[in-house]
Symmetry: C2
Subunit: 247 residues, 2 copies
DNA sequence: GTTATACATATCATCCTACAACCTGAATTG
DNA sequence: CAATTCAGGTTGTAGGATGATATGTATAAC
């Protein structure tokens, strides 16, 4: 029986579609951990693709630690706790794109990170952050450029925490927001969504220079709430004021 | 020129070795973001492997969001902030400080989430959290069961925030830590790493029931610092005390 | 009857060639 | 000069061939 691979939305390459299909079958429990995948031959017949495509698909699953291939036997489905790696991809976050919640998550991550960065920043980090700040307020203030500088500013602060995971997560969330904004601007180009408030950034930078964690956290929280408001997202500020305003 | 691919330790499949090589070249900056990878033909000659192997290697890099292949042109190296996925594998965590950094990230996420959950939790959430708590302290307290219940407890709190992004991220981090512990126990089974402190969990639960955000945040922060210590990770507690102890 | 060896089979791993789909830039043509 | 066509390069897919490895079976030896 030849299975039909649905191409939802964008046209993806065949290996990706096969991998997604198998991945869903594993996640949904149709393929129990410990069981064997069908052979590459069977899969290639089932999906009507070449064995090459099947192999690339399985390579993806293996990279994600979902299966383990053993030469001469087959590919075993691994239990979640046996997997060597886990991942979050954009597609996971696409579902229920909710700007308000995304900003909320960003606020949590960045506010605390700003405090950490204030404690740990070296001169090198301050220079990099200042560089981004200058680009933001400088002449090259055309739309996309200032957004890039804005994101760079935040990424550099995340980097100053010395924690690469924080850097990765914040970069990921910021990029997600940037894409959402970009998309919103295409559907509603009249609304100028790219306004960047330089003053708020300056206050964050000064707190970092001063090495004042509480001030950095408060400034960052105020900035993100402000940024959310500027793109039309009302962030419940109760938590922001409670935690950031105190001290 | 034919490149020699080192097989360090275990014998890995060729695609994995090629992928690891390219991955290192990208991470180290030898291949700048935006630049093109050598063609599959060139790579296959360089490494002395077939184009098929090269393709599987690139498929892995693509799944990790490190490169983007465009038919008719080539494969572009993506900047970290452009990557479509966050991926953490166990090998990374074996390197010294990474576990500490992961706990630090977890602390940031979960502490604030606990505060949010204290404000927003419905009765349904409290019931689910209580259920996990009971499983943790109940008779079915064999090792893995109590770890599962522990993670469930944290996921349910994340769910009570009503923010699916927070839920996704916390699940991700918790799962990663769980696997590291699982792995560590295999290599050193004598050391009992699965000790779960029920008292700390009870205090968090009580703060949630009381609807007290500050108390929930403090209790969560104390718990995660404690959990880190119990697996031998010393978390810099300065931030923890500063933010969590106050009020 | 039990054990040990050899063999056939199944499966993944790798290689090879060929062609299709697609992009780019240069040559051709109007 | 502009538009079209064409040629070359690159990734995507197909299909077959061979090597490496695990498994079960049949045969032979004890």
């Amino acid at each position: 029986m030849k299975q039909r691979l649905a191409a939802i939305g964008t046209v993806e390459a065949l290996p990706h579609r096969v991998a997604a299909f198998l991945s869903r079958e594993i996640e949904s429990g149709d393929l129990n951990p410990g069981s064997l995948l069908p052979t590459e031959q069977q899969l290639s017949e089932k999906f009507g693709v070449s064995r090459n495509v099947v192999r690339e698909a399985i390579a993806q699953l293996r990279a994600d630690g979902m299966v383990e291939a053993r030469q001469g036997i087959g590919s075993f489905v691994l239990a979640p706790e046996q997997r060597a790696a886990i991942r979050i991809d954009r597609e996971t976050l696409k579902e229920g794109q909710n700007m308000e919640r995304l900003f909320e998550l960003r606020c949590i991550l960045e506010a605390e990170s700003a405090a950490l960065a204030a404690e740990r920043r070296e001169q090198e980090h301050l220079d990099a952050i200042k560089g981004a700040l200058d680009r933001m307020s400088g002449e090259e203030r055309w739309e996309d450029g200032s957004i890039d500088a804005d994101l760079l500013f935040h990424r550099e602060i995340a980097r100053a925490t010395g924690n690469s995971y924080i850097h990765t997560f914040i970069s990921f969330v910021c990029e997600q927001i940037r894409r959402s904004i970009y998309y919103a601007r295409q559907t509603n180009p009249l609304h100028d969504l790219v306004e960047v408030n330089v003053g708020e950034h300056v206050r964050i930078y000064e707190a970092l220079v001063a090495g004042d964690p509480a001030a950095a956290e408060a400034a960052m929280r105020a900035h993100i709430i402000g940024a959310a408001n500027r793109v039309g997202v009302k962030l419940p500020s109760a938590r922001g004021e409670r935690t950031g305003g105190g001290k």
